[in-house]
């Protein structure tokens, strides 16, 4: 694409200053402040000094580091489930294996538009003791089943919130897939499963990796639906950040945030570099 302006040194300088100023004001500045607060002894007093005590507390008290562990455990579960479920949906829609494939493809994006807190409320309503799920299980098994405050309602919330990211990543790869290779393998006598495992799946790798990284990051950061459905013992890191900030401990909330950002960033780098050596994310 052609640069729309003459690249004089002055224009370039002005653009650089404006763009970096805006980026700093809206993105880097707030994140850098969180970083700085996490190393400050007391933000509210206005006379804070450099300290590592918030990190010390964070990594020495189970009640504080527990939510970080919970976040990653839940994210791993969600990634695995999404690899199965998201791939299935993407494969079914792109290859038009199901009736209403195009509608399903469109609907798979719907949770991007729905506020996450609404997703949480919807899950609580549906799977709660007064919702349809309890009524159905009561009818079928004679005992109403409720998922309120369980691990599963939390996993479902994260799956709904991350679903479009996996489906879109997989769909992007699937549409570009060379189906002639599969046809050739089938014509040589390979069964469907063998073709999928040895021909299709390896070609899906960029989509699997991109989807997994996006799902992992999104799940770790999920807040809106989580705060509605999460139980006290399964509190995740974003909820802990909210709790600490609400209790006035900005320093501890900042330390949590820095750890969360760093670990997410490292996970992103590792997964993308390790699995996508020499390839680009779809």
């Amino acid at each position: 694409m052609r640069w729309p302006f003459r690249r004089t040194a002055l224009e370039r300088t002005i653009w650089t200053v404006i763009v970096w100023f805006l980026f700093g004001l809206f993105v880097l500045g707030p994140l850098a402040t969180v970083f700085a607060f996490s190393f400050t002894s007391s933000v509210l007093s206005g006379t804070g000094t450099f300290t590592l005590k918030w990190y010390g507390q964070l990594f020495s008290q189970p009640g504080l580091y527990g939510p970080l562990i919970r976040s990653f455990e839940i994210a791993v579960i969600v990634v695995v489930f999404q690899l199965l479920f998201g791939t299935l949906i993407a494969y079914s829609t792109v290859r038009e294996k199901v009736l209403g494939a195009k509608t399903l493809d469109t609907l798979s994006n719907i949770t991007i538009a729905v506020p996450s807190v609404v997703v949480g409320l919807a899950l609580l309503s549906f799977y709660g003791p007064f919702g349809p799920f309890a009524a159905i299980t009561q009818f079928l098994f004679g005992n109403p089943l409720s998922l309120t405050w369980t691990l599963w309602i939390l996993v479902f919330a994260h799956m709904i919130e991350t679903f479009p990211y996996m489906v879109r990543s997989m769909a992007a790869v699937l549409v570009k897939l060379d189906t002639h290779l599969e046809s050739a393998a089938r014509s040589l006598g390979a069964n469907r499963l063998h073709v999928f495992l040895t021909i299709t799946l390896p070609q899906l790798k960029p989509g699997l990796v991109a989807g997994s990284v996006l799902v992992l990051s999104r799940s770790i950061a999920e807040f809106g639906a989580t705060i509605i459905v999460v139980s006290a013992v399964l509190k995740t890191a974003p909820i802990a950040i909210f709790t600490q900030a609400e209790a006035g401990s900005l320093e501890l909330a900042s330390a949590y945030s820095v750890v969360l950002m760093l670990v997410s960033f490292v996970a992103y780098l590792l997964m993308s570099r390790w699995l996508l050596r020499g390839e680009t994310i779809a």
Binding site: V76, V79, L83, S146, K205, A232, V233, L234
Partner: protein
């Protein structure tokens, strides 16, 4: 090569899934969940929970939101509660919850040692609640006001704690309703903020948001120790001083998932806990233990003692809404 990488990734993810599910299941099953109040934060986090964990190996998660919110959270649970225990500053929600079928009757090991005003009425199976600590309701005020202002002729700003969210608000309402509804109306007319819990209430006086409130002696002493500039005394109305025991009571949730719930309640009555309660500015319910340093000397001659019949919770509760500002 490609298949090898995918196989390794699949194995790593499968291992991660198994480990995550195992750990989360263990956390969910093994943790005792206690719904409680911020007023008890230090007592629970610095004394009770660490010692209980050391004695039993049981992890305890404390959930601090207002009593009203916690009650609603319990209602939302249906027959599958998240919480095992309620530890609160008023038995109102325990009485109300028992009537609605959310709490179980129980009997502690040291039942005979607990004074009668610190135990609920008897029901089949034991009692609805037991108090494990108490603190006098205190009139907390800006020291610049001089002597304790008489609530009958209050002419300065008041912080009426929210009666539907906070147990502190419940005690304030019951005090005025039992002594002088007119004084209650006067206090409400002078209210500028309605704090949602006992700590926010005392902080309101400390930071100058209002001049007078009714709070707990224990929470006031906690903030005095931290340098807050507040004064306190027993509530004074019409020249009379009143002693209202704020009773921190325990209730056990029906269908509670953790089998250690009863052990935790019994643990609260051990000598090692009761003897140390005053270190956290509250008073032990079992006799023979010292009062908190700096606390109001009790018993005090000429003071009127107000104990409420919590079994009449419907009547008590019906008076609460009119003490919501703008409500």
């Amino acid at each position: 090569m490609r298949n090898k990488v995918l196989s390794i990734a699949a194995l790593v993810l499968a291992a991660g899934l198994a480990l995550s599910l195992t750990d989360l299941y263990k956390v969910q099953q093994g943790t005792l969940v206690v719904y409680t109040t911020p007023a008890l934060r230090d007592l629970l986090e610095s004394l009770v929970v660490p010692r209980f964990h050391a004695a039993t190996g049981t992890d305890v998660t404390l959930v601090y939101v207002s009593a009203g919110e916690e009650y609603n959270r319990l209602r939302m649970s249906g027959g599958h509660p998240e919480a095992d225990l309620f530890l609160h500053a008023s038995p109102l929600y325990l009485e109300k919850g028992f009537a609605a079928g959310y709490f179980l009757p129980f009997q502690i090991g040291r039942n005979a040692s607990v004074p009668p005003n610190f135990v609920s009425r008897s029901v089949a199976g034991g009692h609805l609640w037991y108090a494990f600590a108490w603190s006098p309701l205190a009139q907390v005020y800006d020291p610049q006001l001089g002597a304790t202002p008489d609530l009958a002729s209050l002419d300065t700003t008041f912080g009426f704690p929210h009666p539907l969210l906070s147990n502190n608000g419940i005690y304030a309402v019951l005090f005025f309703e039992n002594v002088s509804a007119a004084a209650g109306a006067r206090a409400l007319a002078h209210t500028v903020v309605q704090p949602a819990n006992a700590r926010a209430n005392i902080l309101g006086v400390a930071d100058g948001a209002f001049d007078v409130t009714l709070g707990y002696e224990g929470v006031t002493l906690f903030y005095l120790k931290q340098g807050a500039r507040v004064a306190f005394d027993l509530p004074v109305l019409g020249g009379q001083r009143f002693l209202v025991p704020v009773i921190f009571s325990a209730g056990i949730v029906k269908g509670h998932p953790n089998p250690m719930a009863m052990d935790f309640i019994d643990f609260l009555y051990r000598d090692e806990i009761q003897s140390n309660i005053s270190r956290f500015y509250f008073r032990a319910v079992l006799p023979g233990f010292s009062d908190p340093p700096g606390g109001i000397p009790l018993p005090e001659p000429g003071t009127v003692v107000l104990n409420y019949d919590w079994s009449q919770w419907r009547t008590l509760e019906s008076t609460l809404p009119k003490y919501v500002v703008g409500g």
